[in-house]
Symmetry: C2
Subunit: 159 residues, 2 copies
Amino acid sequence: MAKVSPKWLTPKEMRAWRSYIIASRRLLEALDQDLSGHDLSMADYEVLAQLSEAPGRRIRMSDLAEIAMLSKSRLSHRITVMEKAGWVRREACKEDRRGAWAVMTEKGLKAIVKAAPDHVDSVRTRFLDRLDGEDQINLADVFEEVLAGLRSEFKSEKE
Amino acid sequence: MAKVSPKWLTPKEMRAWRSYIIASRRLLEALDQDLSGHDLSMADYEVLAQLSEAPGRRIRMSDLAEIAMLSKSRLSHRITVMEKAGWVRREACKEDRRGAWAVMTEKGLKAIVKAAPDHVDSVRTRFLDRLDGEDQINLADVFEEVLAGLRSEFKSEKE
DNA sequence: GCACTTTACTTGAAAGTTCAACTAAATGAC
DNA sequence: GTCATTTAGTTGAACTTTCAAGTAAAGTGC
């Protein structure tokens, strides 16, 4: 017999869900605000962080969109802005002439090298420090499981 | 002696942090998409849900902004849109003539009554069902703690 | 009462994001 | 090779959110 979900959430479920979304929104808000002193949003930080770790400090636009979890269009607009700020530059791709590289400039590298310690500190004090060792493992397990669930649902939707 | 945070995250911290933000972004994305069939964003859903539970199905703009976690400006713009959709209406406030009520219409009530079961189902299948009873409690504890931390930091910033 | 500050809310413009349409190159079928 | 399809990326318009400024009413000090 198939499990039928009751219509509303139990108090326990409700508490888990609400504490999670409320704290998450506030947390992201706080982290974003912490970064704003470096003129960066979390999304822009992620783009720069990914670029800084990539070989040649360059990534193809599509790949960058993928790993930074942005739509292609959003990334394209954002790179235009970052280009004006002098943090990245676009470069034509010889192997695939449809393609474009997003290349981090020296200035971009400096920007993220400067921002990173503050951001890490911010993530630590606002989030990680509130979790003991066991919490960290549990949380990772739970969210990996959630992500796996999302992926499999996504896959089955496509089939 | 003050605790000095090492510069970068340990693998364990990294795993906790990354699984959390990645899964969270995907989760929110999925929940939003699930709601889009009802022509609602999560933010709009929250606004309507709060109104539906309020006495007289009406809440003062400022209070609504507070509980729905939106800026006043954002709420004001959003209510303008929802007003056009016929879900809410503004009403002058007699007790405080600067004030305004956001009042849910019958149509708005119908919209959320229709959307709610799907949304609950979506939260359940995509998130809560991945957590066992103990996970739910741990998660609630952790995020309540994170929220408390944010509040106290916020308070101390103001002082 | 009168000035001063604060509170409640809105507004318009700027900045950011999404959406659909578009160009151009690569790939695949035959 | 040629036609259709897919992939890579950009663009402009529509919409959303933020930001700074504005209006009007309350509250406060004296």
